[in-house]
């Protein structure tokens, strides 16, 4: 089940929250664990056992590693990390590798290998990174082993962040697993955050997705440049509102249950360069990559050449982590290139230029990278990139035609709203917005703000629930049988 489904919103969530708050605080972990097991088993009934088995292995390795020291401790860490990595490689990338190998063998005139496709467990990319984070944090001594297997399993599969993050490092939550407080103010703050995320996902992301899907359809031929750009922009908004909406819902639900997860998005399209973009976009992933790949490889404390190599490694891994496809690798390499450029500029004391130039320029290149991310194949991506830069780009009538033929009144309104919410100015001179959550937001302290957030929550819940209910209602006027 997904967060933005009626079953989750009006069946699973109220039942789990009700039981969670009825039971005594010491039983809340058990309730959260049971709810999370139900959540995962519902969507992936076969893989729940694989996940529990992998968790048992990690827990056992953690238990064995904790009292050990020196090489033995490192060997336990290696064993744990390799097991997790192998699991991820097998389930997520085996099909891709076999396909590439078969392609190469067939090109050489040798028959391919027969292979039964492996199904992909939901959320494996996220929970694998979380499990590695546990082992590394134990190894470094920045966290204590989980009090019990149940506590560890809860960390891995806590349902708010299981499927799509944020990637929670063990060191950030291990105290909360042992002790946390649930207050009305905290629940209120979580409720507001959850409803914002729901609205972003259902009202904005889905609408932008409809436009992007039409324009990115490989069967679309003769796309004009303005139409291609409309597709890219729609996708840029779709992916932002979808992903950040999910994160908001996860953070909101966590807060309702007394957990504090780190922020995952901070208005990323207002970045002045790619380095800043990755401090604002999918923050939990970039944090994980920095902590567990970039720094162990030496980070920037080694030679310049090795630093650049490390940056590329991190982003190639990041690209591949997103999906088993060359277009994702290309996307990662694209970002790796621009991060290297940022590093070079910083080393040579070059600035980014004025904000009004740097922000649009960064957004422009980020949009180009989204083409690589969105298209299923590299061929389609390259073709689409070509469509972006045709002569029709400079014809006003082409823009008018693209705008009117691909956007209806609803599409217009939601596109402009998406644009506005993404690019609203931020800064200390702007009053903190009650519409979009700011980092480390807490419950409102003034009546007007509290009333506004309550009314906004109810309105967003009603609008989102209405949109969801209507999307599942597809009647015919009469029976035709």
């Amino acid at each position: 089940m997904v967060f933005s489904s009626q079953f989750f919103l009006f069946f699973f969530l109220p039942i789990v929250l009700a039981i969670y708050f009825i039971v005594p605080p010491r039983a809340r972990n058990a309730v959260a664990l049971a709810g999370s097991l139900w959540f995962y088993a519902w969507g992936a009934p076969k893989f729940i056992f694989v996940l529990l088995a992998l968790c048992a292995v990690d827990y056992g390795v953690g238990r064995a590693m904790h009292p050990a020291s020196g090489r033995a401790r490192f060997r336990w860490l290696t064993l744990g990390v390799v097991c997790n990595a192998l699991g991820l490689i097998y389930f997520k990338y085996a099909n891709f590798f076999v396909e590439q190998m078969n392609g190469a063998l067939e090109a050489l005139g040798v028959g391919g290998v027969s292979w039964t496709a492996v199904a992909l467990p939901i959320g494996i990319s996220f929970f694998t990174f979380q499990k590695i984070s546990y082992l590394v944090d134990l190894y470094r001594g920045t966290a204590q082993p989980a009090a019990s297997l149940g506590s560890y399993v809860l960390y891995v599969i806590l349902f708010p962040q299981l499927i799509a993050g944020p990637i929670v490092r063990y060191q950030d939550v291990h105290d909360q697993l042992r002790f946390r407080t649930c207050t009305a103010a905290g629940f209120f703050s979580g409720m507001w955050r959850f409803c914002i995320g729901l609205g972003k996902k259902v009202l904005l992301a889905n609408a932008m997705g409809e436009i992007a899907d039409r324009l990115f359809d490989p069967k679309q031929s003769d796309l004009s440049s303005p139409a291609a750009w409309l597709g890219v922009l729609s996708y840029a908004f779709q992916i932002y509102y979808d992903f950040s909406g999910y994160s908001d819902m996860a953070i909101g639900m966590g807060r309702m249950m007394g957990f504090e997860f780190l922020e995952n998005f901070r208005r990323p399209y207002l970045s002045k360069n790619f380095t800043e973009f990755w401090r604002r976009w999918h923050i939990s992933l970039s944090t994980w990559m920095r902590e567990y790949i970039y720094i162990p490889l030496g980070g920037s404390r080694i030679s310049l050449a090795r630093t650049y190599v490390n940056l590329w490694i991190v982003f190639l891994v990041s690209g591949f982590w997103h999906g088993a496809s060359w277009s994702f690798v290309a996307w990662g390499a694209f970002h790796g290139f621009f991060l290297s450029v940022d590093k070079w500029k910083k080393d040579h004391h070059w600035g980014d230029g004025p904000r009004w130039v740097a922000i649009p320029a960064t957004f422009f290149f980020v949009c180009l990278s989204w083409v690589l991310f969105r298209c299923n194949t590299l061929t389609h991506a390259l073709h689409y990139l070509g469509d972006l830069f045709q002569s029709s780009l400079f014809h006003f009538t082409a823009w008018q035609t693209a705008w009117s033929s691909h956007l209806d009144a609803r599409g217009h309104a939601l596109f402009i709203l998406s644009l506005f919410l993404c690019f609203r100015p931020e800064g200390p001179w702007v009053r903190p917005s009650a519409v979009l959550p700011q980092p480390s937001d807490s419950a409102p302290k003034t009546w007007p703000r509290a009333a506004w957030q309550f009314a906004g929550s109810m309105a967003l819940l009603l609008l989102s629930a209405s949109a969801l209910a209507n999307s599942s209602f597809n009647p015919f006027i009469y029976f035709r049988f």
Partner: protein, 385 residues
């Protein structure tokens, strides 16, 4: 502030629980959703259905379809979209197009002009030949036969179609109606051409021939058709049927049967306000004591409902069976509905017991005259192609 937070959280909690409460306890009035859905099947929880994910998927679909407050949510979303953007979300089912001045059209009728249904020349020839043979068969058995072609709102009332919904007339391809009607007339098949009549009556009709919020001819339009149809059936059969006349039109806000079916399909809160004034025919019954109600068989689509209902209401028929899409028997008087399998129908019994057979078809459905009843009937008499 603490109390405010607690009350707010309570309200949020209640909001999450309300659909389940409504589903099982019904504290709020139940609202119906207009339109026809195929309900998701119930799936038994078994090992296989669980591990295949089928149980979870179907359970969620069933939950969505039966969730409490669903009608409230759907109406709210539709009302907002219609009020703010002038159209509804694109749907997989029947798509309603909101035209100028709030006149509604069904998307499939617009599509039939944009991308008309086509048929091979051979199919057209065979269809017309079957109609001819069926007509001859009815004549032989002393049973009247009439082909009633109901018009499309798109062709009769194109003035309210939104800009860009249709290509300009010079770029449109011929629809099957245009290709087949001349040949049907040439073949001597008795036909009541609804499109021709409506285009002729449109300029001086006392009421709209198509209602603003409906996809079918209005009751006024259907009553005018009935006025024209009865004399044609009398000529065919030599019998004297009651012949009601439209004498006047009354207006009120009562929505009569299918007159606002598209409007109802919008599933909005302001249906009655948007539907506006409704026009109803005032019909004078035929008081001729020599007129005798007939026994009719009708095979038709949804346009036949209004016609059949009027025939029953005005005493034109003592017994009428409508084979709706040749899948469901609707019997008058009583308007009882019974689905059937086509093979169970004995065309001989059905035809020979009647005064007349009426095949009603909308121009959209060409060339499916009788929805396979005619070949089955001809086969029963050994006269099929």
């Amino acid at each position: 502030m603490k109390l405010f937070f607690r009350v707010s959280c309570g309200c949020f909690f209640l909001a999450l629980w309300l659909p389940m409460i409504q589903q099982y306890l019904h504290p709020l009035p139940a609202l119906a959703l207009h339109g026809v859905e195929t309900p998701p099947p119930r799936v038994k929880l078994t090992r296989d259905s669980w591990f295949d994910g089928v149980f979870a998927q179907k359970t969620e679909a069933r939950y969505s379809a039966s969730m409490g407050l669903r009608a409230y949510f759907v109406r709210t979303d539709n009302e907002l979209n219609l009020s703010l953007f002038g159209k509804l979300r694109d749907k997989a089912g029947t798509h309603v197009v909101v035209g100028k001045n709030g006149v509604l059209y069904e998307q499939s009728y617009l599509d039939n002009v944009r991308r008309p249904r086509q048929a091979h020349e051979e199919t057209i020839v065979r269809t017309i030949e079957r109609l001819k043979r069926f007509h001859a068969l009815c004549r032989e058995k002393g049973v009247g036969f009439l082909l009633v072609v109901s018009p499309s709102k798109v062709t009769v009332c194109p003035e309210s179609i939104p800009e860009g919904a249709l290509p300009p007339p010079e770029k449109r391809k011929a629809v099957l109606y245009d290709r087949m009607m001349p040949r049907i007339r040439e073949a001597g098949i008795p036909v009541l051409d609804g499109r021709e009549l409506f285009l002729k009556w449109k300029s001086d009709a006392a009421a709209p021939l198509f209602p603003k919020g409906g996809t079918h001819w209005s009751y006024y339009g259907a009553a005018r058709v009935l006025e024209t149809m009865i004399p044609m059936l009398e000529k065919q059969t030599g019998k004297n049927f009651p012949n009601p006349r439209v004498t006047d039109v009354k207006t009120d806000r009562e929505i009569y049967r299918e007159d606002a079916d598209l409007m109802a399909l919008l599933n909005i809160w302001t249906l009655y306000w948007r539907a506006g004034i409704q026009h109803h025919p005032v019909i004078e019954k035929d008081t001729d004591p020599a007129a005798t109600p007939g026994n009719f068989l009708c095979i038709g689509d949804s346009f036949s409902h209004a016609l059949n209902h009027l025939m029953d209401q005005q005493g034109v028929t003592g017994s009428l069976d409508n084979f709706y899409y040749f899948h469901r028997r609707i019997h008058y008087p009583g308007e009882t509905q019974t689905p059937f399998e086509r093979e169970t129908i004995d065309p001989k019994t059905e035809i020979e017991s009647r005064d007349a057979v009426i095949i009603e078809i909308n121009e959209y459905w060409f060339p499916d005259f009788g929805f396979d009843f005619i070949p089955q009937a001809l086969k029963a008499y050994g006269r099929d192609l």
